[in-house]
Symmetry: C2
Subunit: 259 residues, 2 copies
């Protein structure tokens, strides 16, 4: 991603929607289904392609759907549910997924998910799932990304990156935007501290959230409401190969002034 | 690259870096310089193209550079500067740009800018400017976007969108990401409440930060440290024409649990 060598200006980047996957069921072979979808679109992966996959199909393939009738709200969940006028089953599930409540108001709980993300309702999703099922975030999104990466790299004989995507609300700004939950094969963060600008000034403490930038780009074609486009291929990025991890992007407690 | 006969599926989106602008000076004709850069790249704008322009060249063309020797730190700035170990001239400028301090710690002030954005150091930038000058955010970024839009639309005979871009740090997540300061010709926010998913579930309270998504995509080619690529052309987006405003994306006080 470095532009410090002036002669090396970036080329165009393409955001290509991936469609043609079936409705995903627990146990489905996602790498296999993605390969099939790519092939039927005539898309052959090349080195440094990045595939962004919505977490919804990951969560479903990994069986992270919880039936509401399987939830038993405890006393704490019932009390909180009454206080903020929410369904106690949903509140119990949110608490189960979380390590702590960060904020709450009527109809909304913002928690720290057991995997570190701070977001509304522990990322539990009520859309794009059969009736009576709630979709939770993947248990290990980096691992989910690695599995897809390995399957696709083996098939196409290339080195790629994979990002598992969600969209969250955020402080200060309205509207949801992209969040890279899991990352494999590219850096989540790129540190540009010490790079020199046109006037010779050295940048200080500048880290760029590369995987989130890519995730947001992908959300321009991945439909929020529609499994019709559950993934996007980003082609033309410049990055150094890296194991990568979605954890790189999680701000640690001691560096956060807002929790 | 047609991927499907289904007309509802999105086509590919292209992120095209715009280079070839000179170092910008106060008073420069930015629409004219952008037209020249587009022409020498062989790029002819078409309807629904979105041009994302880094605020740095806007701020410079609009003379939003402040010489540090022109700043006189007052008593409040000196006291705060001592408390958080920052340069009092810088602190005075940050306070001048802001309506209030939201958080502070050693070496960092997070304020609400007079235009509503909550960000570090009121968005004042020490990079990419001649020695002894600080670059402040544009006074009316929507207006800056409108002027570029009008100039380019008139020249190319098309209808486009323009976004004035910055990158800010954020709570919960590390790394800077894109922020659409000014918007013209496309909606900043897209409301998807009431859209139906594959299972017939109606989405609730779902607003997508369209202009920020586009802004992040553009930052994949716009160099943080380098005026070599001060703008990007995003081609292939589907959106309804709209006046648009960066203000759509600013979360109002009463809807924010984190300030």
């Amino acid at each position: 991603m470095t532009l410090s060598e002036n002669k090396k200006l970036p080329e165009s980047i393409h955001i290509i929607p991936i469609s043609g996957l079936p409705l995903i069921e627990p146990g489905d072979d996602l790498p296999g289904l993605l390969i099939k979808a790519l092939n039927s679109s005539g898309l052959r992966l090349i080195d440094k392609d990045v595939l962004v996959v919505t977490h919804k199909i990951i969560s479903k393939a990994e069986g992270r759907m919880i039936r509401s009738s399987a939830i038993v709200p405890g006393a704490a969940a019932r009390k909180l549910a009454e206080e903020i006028e929410m369904d106690p089953y949903k509140v119990q599930l949110i608490l189960d997924e979380s390590v702590r409540v960060v904020r709450k108001r009527k109809g909304l709980i913002i928690t720290q998910h057991q995997n570190g993300w701070i977001c509304a309702n522990a990322g539990v999703d009520f859309s794009n799932a059969p009736d009576d099922y709630y979709v939770c975030l993947p248990l290990n999104a980096d691992h989910s990304a690695q599995k897809i990466k390995q399957g696709l790299e083996q098939y196409f004989g290339v080195k790629i990156g994979v990002i598992i995507s969600d969209s969250h609300g955020r402080p200060f700004r309205l509207g949801v935007s992209g969040v890279a939950l899991g990352v494999s094969g590219l850096p989540g963060l790129v540190d540009r501290t010490g790079e020199t600008d046109l006037y010779g000034y050295k940048m200080q403490n500048t880290q760029v959230a590369l995987a989130d930038l890519i995730d947001n780009a992908a959300l321009l074609v991945i439909g929020e409401s529609n499994e019709g486009v559950p993934a996007a291929l980003i082609r033309g990025l410049l990055f150094e190969g890296s194991d990568g991890s979605g954890k790189e992007l999680i701000r640690p407690d001691e560096k956060d002034l807002f929790r």
